[in-house]
Every structure is written in C-alpha cells, then in structure tokens.
C-alpha cells in the first residue's frame, strides 16, 4: 500500500458489524468521563437553541450607562465596555460555536472524503496529485492558513467557514484514500471481480462500514478543534466581525481590562475549554470503545 494515505492513529480501528453499534454505545457510555463529555455537548446544543429563553438581555444591544460593571445579582458575570451582559453573550456565543463547527466540519469532511475517494480509486497520477496537495495544505499550520485566507477574502462568517474547511479537509482525504486502498487490495474485492461483479459496488460495501468508525472519531474531535481554532481567529481580530458575540473576540476585548475585570476575558475562555473538552472526551471514548485492545476487558 502506498505510504501516502496513512493517518497513524486512526487506521488501526477495526471494522465492527453494524449490529455491534449498540454494544459500542454501551461500552462508550460506561465510562463516566464520556458521559460528562456528552452532557457538555448536550448543554451546548440546548444553550444554543434556547439562548433567548435563558437570559432577559440582548447580546448585542449597547447600553453605555451600564458599561463595565462587576458581577452582581443583576449581571451574573458583569458587563463589558458597551454595557452588554457578559453571561448573555457567552450563551449566544454557543450559536456561533455550533454553526461554525458543524458547517465547517461537514463541508470539509464531505469534500475531503470525495477527494480521498477519487485519489484512492483512481490511484496513479490522480492519487499523487491529490495527496501532494493534501501534504501542502497540511504543511501550513491551520491558524496561519486560515489567517491568510481570511485576510485575502475579508472577514465574516462565510470566509471563516471556508478557511476552516480548507484547513480541516486534508485529514479526511487521507483517511478516505487509505480506506479505499485497503478495500481495493482486499481479497474479496478481487474475488468479486473474478466473478464479474462491478468492483465499485463491492468496494463501497466494504468501504462504508470500514470508514465509518474512524470517520466518526475524526468528526467528533474536529468539532472541538474547529471551535478552538475559530476562537483563536476571532481573538486575533480576524474572522467573524463584531458585534456578533463570539467567545474568542470576547476574550480579546477583555484584555484591556484584565486587571480590573478579569471576568471579561476568563469566562468566555472557560466556555471554550469546556466545550472543546466535551467533544474531546466523547471522541476519545468513541475511539476507545471501537478499539477492543485498549479496554481492560476483552
């Protein structure tokens, strides 16, 4: 197998039968850390959906007379420079987090897998070109690459999504390409070909259950990574424009008042940590559940 299409820590996951998925869920959630992660994700989703119900304040409404208040019973986390309630902005920030995460990962995943499929199926030149492009994209740190794209195209949500998509795409192409190559070399594909079955169909039947587990793990972990990277971008002032409430920008805005109002910077950061942690815990739990060797029982 060509050494190009290898994702080191994901290829080792064996293919479970579909009927095993229930058992896998059971194993996954038998560990309390995974449950905590899942709860966090659930909270994130609920917060994003029900944000208006959770707070009486508007996230973007400027009220200068309330500017820079310390935490109180009225404003649990205080207010920022423009008099906006910090807790409210954090709650609404969850919407950006989810949208960015889900859209970027979905798009990059779909596109990346497609490219990987082409590369693996056709092999030869196609594979080389696609894989080298992947290498080139991976040679750039995601943040740097996204910075460049965001700069050139101007800020805003679509740009950030595009930049994220481009940065995340390579891992999916690699994964898919590797799976396709492995499926191609599988004996039963050859056997089917001998009998005359179309090898596309045979490969797909083998491909889908095989690629699904590592794909799921990758998606979960990438969701956390996407949120983290978008936050970094917003922190730098590039990316999603104000006044939209995004956690990264909030941390940046609070910098100036670090000494007097640490809450402004630290609480949105805490939100980021929590959310990313949630996705990581679930992603790890999934990966461990799919790999029987890493558990203490057979």
């Amino acid at each position: 197998m060509d050494e190009t299409c290898v994702t080191p820590d994901l290829q080792g996951i064996p293919q479970p039968r579909v009927s095993e998925s229930r058992r896998i869920f059971k194993v996954m959630f038998s560990r309390w850390v995974v449950i905590i992660g899942a709860v966090i994700i659930l909270l994130l989703i609920l917060t994003a959906i029900f944000a208006p119900l959770l707070t009486p304040y508007e996230p973007n409404k400027v009220k200068l007379e309330d500017s820079l208040q310390q935490p109180s019973s009225q404003h649990l986390l205080g207010t920022d420079l423009y008099g906006r309630d910090v807790l409210t902005r954090i709650l609404y920030g969850s919407r950006i987090a989810i949208i960015v995460g889900v859209v970027a990962v979905t798009a990059s995943g779909a596109f990346g897998m497609f490219l990987g499929l082409l590369a693996g199926y056709f092999g030869g030149w196609v594979e080389t070109i696609i894989m080298r492009i992947t290498d080139a994209l991976m040679a750039l740190p995601p943040l740097v690459l996204m910075l460049a794209i965001a700069v050139m195209l101007g800020g805003g949500v679509p740009t950030v999504l595009l930049a994220l998509g481009v940065a995340l795409m390579p891992t999916y192409s690699r994964l898919m390409c590797g799976q396709v190559l492995a499926a191609k070399e599988n004996d039963y594909v050859m056997a089917a070909k001998v009998v005359g079955a179309g090898n596309i169909r045979v490969m797909f039947r083998h491909l889908v259950p095989n690629v699904f587990p590592p794909l799921l793990v990758l998606i979960t972990l990438d969701l956390g990574f996407a949120i983290l990277t978008e936050a970094s971008l917003s922190f730098l002032g590039i990316g999603i424009n104000p006044p939209t409430a995004t956690w990264g920008a909030m941390v940046s805005d609070g910098q100036r008042y670090l000494l007097t109002h640490p809450v402004l910077s630290f609480t949105p950061g805490l939100a980021i940590v929590l959310v990313v942690l949630g996705f990581n815990l679930v992603g790890d739990g999934l990966r461990d559940a799919l790999d029987p060797r890493l558990r203490g029982r057979i």
């Binding site: 058992r23 194993v27 203490g296 029982r297 057979i298």
Partner: protein, 334 residues
C-alpha cells in the same frame, strides 16, 4: 523420581463482556526429565492458555489464575508473584517458551543477536564478548548459516523458518530444563515445519531438556512425543503414552480426531469423517460431559453427569463414561 513439572488442577479464567470464560477448567499433568510430551487439541481448547499460565504470562486483567498448583523443582510457581525475582529467575533460565508467530514474537527494532545475548547476559552473567560468542554458537547449532554475520540482522531480514530457529536458539540459550513450544510450526509451510521440528529435537538431544509441544497437529506429536494429553473445552479428556493414544484411543473425541485425519498408510478412498458441531461456549458450562453434543456414542451414554478421569491402562486415562472398546485399535499401525 519426582517429575520435573507437576501441574495439579490448574484453572484459568478470563473476564469478558459476555461473562467469565473458563479457559482452563482444572487440568493436571506432569512431565519428567528429558521427556517429550504432546498437548493436543483444537483452537480454543485452552492448551496455549494453560502453558502461559504455568509461567504466569497471562495478562491479569482480564485473565485470572483461579486455582491449582504448578510444582517445578519442588516449588509451587503459582505462589510467586508474576513479577517477582523468583518467577523471573525461572523464566528463560529454567523454563522457556517458543511462540507460534516468530515474526511478531521478536522485537523488530533489536537485532537477533541483541535479543539472544540479552537473555544470556541476564541469566548466565556472561560479559558481552562471551555472550555474543555463545549466541553465535547457538545460531549455528540451530542451523542458521553465516551465524557470525547474521547475528546483527533484524528479524524482518530473516525468513519465517529462520526466525523460528532463532526463537529456538533464544529459548535454549540458557539451557533450560523445560521448553514449552506453543504451536511452533503452525505459522510455517510444511517443508519448513519438518526442518524446524528436527532442529528442536536435535537440541533436545544435545541439551537434554524436557519439551512440551502444544499443537493441533497430530502428526507432529505422533512422531516425536512420548506421552500425549488431549484437551477439549479446557479439560484433559485423554492421557497416555503415544502408543496408547494413537493405537488404542478411548475417548470419543480422540477417536473422532484420528478418523478425521488422512494417513499415508491406510487404504485409499477412506472417507474422512469430520467432527460435526462446534466446541462449546466456555461461559457457564453446565456440569455435564462437554463433548456429549458431538459424541458418536451419545446414544449409549446413559449418565448425565460430568465424567472424571478413569484409568483404562497402565498409564492411560480417559474422561468418559462409556467404554468405546478401542474402536480404532488395529487400524492405526505404525
């Protein structure tokens, strides 16, 4: 003379998601000095697990040594902790093991020489020069050409048969009293199998160690072993000398096994008779005869209980209620 190794009622279990598996359910056997004993049975019958358990190589979790004694040179090895000095001084030096898969059983990042000298230095306290010299001699003895040069090669540079020979050399490096060969030839092609077995037997002649051969291949043990134990579902179902077991098998399983294997000296055209059915699930085994479901004599068997080992000859024992009257005796002549 007391036996070199005497195992009494060894039990090994594994925790699994589906329940506790009784991989080894109370086996007892012994081996004397300079004896070759065969342990046969199909995959999953517990033969490999039992041997790993004697030198405490079972990963615990999920495995457990649930009972029994392993008396070696007068001491019960199971009384020692797995990573104790006593246990470690036995492994490699007094009891060593040869494993089934030579490619994965050798560390890919160290040279063959390093891996052999490692055990020599550990147990025999030789300096590097002498250890190296001894390793080269060992490799020559097991038939590896250009030993002095090949000692610096890595496992992936050896062929399958040569790797297994290197494993044999490594196992015998410190002249252990007992060598356990766990399916030593299963991963090799037939011609290489014969060569590797010959090498093993030659070493036995030179070093005078005892040898336990664990295998599912009856042909190997028929030729080389003096005594045979037949295992099924974690128990020993028949035990006897090689002659006993091959010429006068008494357990339905042994008889069925022999019927299912072709022989060069029998009339052509004899039907191979496979054993119908599957081995039992080792979780929650009911207290009945484990082989009954597949037994050709089941109709004659009136007892519902689990049989004990019954003596049917000088050194011949069988775990069965009925007397099969040596149905195959006479058929299998040497």
């Amino acid at each position: 003379m007391p036996p070199l190794l005497e195992v009494k009622n060894l039990k090994v279990t594994f925790d699994t998601m589906a329940g506790v598996v009784k991989a080894v359910d109370g086996i007892s056997y012994h081996i004397d000095e300079e004896e070759v004993v065969g342990l046969v049975g199909e995959s999953g019958c517990g033969k490999s697990v039992s041997q790993l358990a004697t030198i405490q190589l079972i990963p615990t979790p999920p495995g457990h040594i649930a009972g029994g004694e392993v008396i070696f040179e007068g001491q019960d090895l199971l009384k020692y902790k797995a990573d104790s000095n006593q246990m470690r001084s036995v492994r490699g030096a007094k009891i060593s093991m040869i494993f089934q898969e030579p490619m994965t059983s050798l560390n890919p990042v160290f040279s063959i020489g390093d891996q052999i000298t490692e055990t020599i230095s550990l147990h025999l306290k030789l300096n590097h020069q002498d250890a190296q010299q001894r390793a080269i001699e060992l490799l020559e003895q097991v038939g590896i050409p250009d030993a002095a040069m090949r000692i610096n090669n890595y496992p992936h540079q050896f062929s399958g048969g040569m790797r297994q020979r290197a494993m044999i050399a490594m196992a015998l490096a410190c002249h252990p009293k007992l060598v356990i060969a766990d399916e030593p030839t299963t991963a090799l092609d037939v011609t290489t199998q014969a060569q590797v077995l010959e090498v093993m037997m030659e070493m036995v002649k030179k070093i005078h160690n005892s040898l336990i051969i664990v295998t599912h291949n009856l042909g190997i043990v028929a030729r080389y072993a003096q005594r045979i134990y037949v295992m099924y579902a974690g128990r020993i179902v028949e035990a006897g000398t090689s002659d006993d077991v091959f010429r006068d098998p008494r357990h339905p399983y042994t008889i069925a096994l022999l019927k299912s294997v072709p022989r060069l000296d029998e009339p052509r055209g004899r039907q191979l008779v496979p054993i119908l059915g599957l081995p039992p699930n080792l979780i929650n085994l009911p207290p009945v005869c484990a082989f009954k479901a597949r037994c050709s004599w089941a109709g004659q068997c009136k007892k519902e209980t689990d049989p004990d080992l019954r003596q049917v000859g000088d050194n011949h024992f069988v775990r069965c209620h009925i007397d099969t009257k040596g149905e195959l005796s006479g058929i299998l002549q040497r």
